[in-house]
Symmetry: C2
Subunit: 214 residues, 2 copies
Amino acid sequence: MLETTHSSDVAAQADGRSRLLSSAALEFSRCGFAGASIASIARGAGVVKSTVFHHFDNKEALYLAVIREAAVEFGQTLNTVLAIDEDPGRCIAAFQRSHLAHLQRNAEVARLVLRELQDSVSDRCVTLVKEVLSPNFQRLVGYLRDAASAGLIRADLDPAAAALTLLGANLLYFQSRDALAVLPGHDLADDPDAFSNAVADVVFRGLVARSESS
Amino acid sequence: MLETTHSSDVAAQADGRSRLLSSAALEFSRCGFAGASIASIARGAGVVKSTVFHHFDNKEALYLAVIREAAVEFGQTLNTVLAIDEDPGRCIAAFQRSHLAHLQRNAEVARLVLRELQDSVSDRCVTLVKEVLSPNFQRLVGYLRDAASAGLIRADLDPAAAALTLLGANLLYFQSRDALAVLPGHDLADDPDAFSNAVADVVFRGLVARSESS
DNA sequence: GTCTATAATTCGATAGAC
DNA sequence: GTCTATCGAATTATAGAC
């Protein structure tokens, strides 16, 4: 009776797929794309190699799926965080906090992405940026542009530069948190939310419309 | 004959030492600390292994000397850039431009430092941060604190968070410049100075005293 | 467990500069 | 003659092969 094995319903399949994604995230972040072994990923998920290729076309598709999953999840967070009818200062602070929390919650994937951006020669990287990272980045830039159009923040600055400033602060914190703890004179390494709020404060006061800042 | 190696005058001393530093920067950034080989570094500088230990106590001292050299050089730049009697907006923009230019001019060393900060478990990393990186960081934080005391910028924000915001934007740009070129909607990847100015603009307007911003 | 290869580090000698 | 950069050889530690 193969009924039990075939009674793998949608739930069981999704479970295998998500276990594969977790296992792949760990393996890719540890070994990089080239160094990662499909067999090892399958072993980590408790399935055989061929199961991997049932769920994903090839190694690169699996790789991109790992990152896309985290990106899509964060995109959903953006829906609730970037609301044009909220106070922009609160929005930006909420974005910083949720982005940094997302980085820390998905640390393996984040490290994977950062490593890929650093190498940035492969056309894997181009696909990654254009199809996976760019949508969320554009959401942030678009929010800033809309807020500027609505007069909520200054209109005479580059929204892309502002977005990169926010992201850069979080990425530096994420990459170097332990090292930051060694720097004297501040206690930011202890509290990610406090750091996010402080950065958002610094950046926002630069973004707020002058007429409202008095 | 080996005459070239033995025609060592004072100039050749500095030359041998600085060639070792260059060779070590390349080797360390390619292979990391553990993976780097003293023999390979010596070969790259055109000397034998034992000469390395004439100039540096051991491998770690060489490693730290490589990074310290770049840090000290940038420290000298800071002397001219962070002047409390200049306009703080211009100061911060000048800092951003010179820091990013320094990263790009010393790309191997910068990559080395970033890699070390990411691992950030070794006590090498602690030494690096405390003795080499921290002085320059504290200079920036100190400048911001002094400027706040002098009423040139807002006093009600965390100077360390502001400093990390500035540095994070530059490091993200440096790490991901090629990838940024793929993102549509901006032309920042082409022009580092334009990026630095844009970031400084965003951050400074948040730092400027409100009484002066109306 | 021994043997071997490779790594870091040390030592003594040489050669040129002051 | 002293000082210092350099060299080649020697020494130790360690990791992998057999």
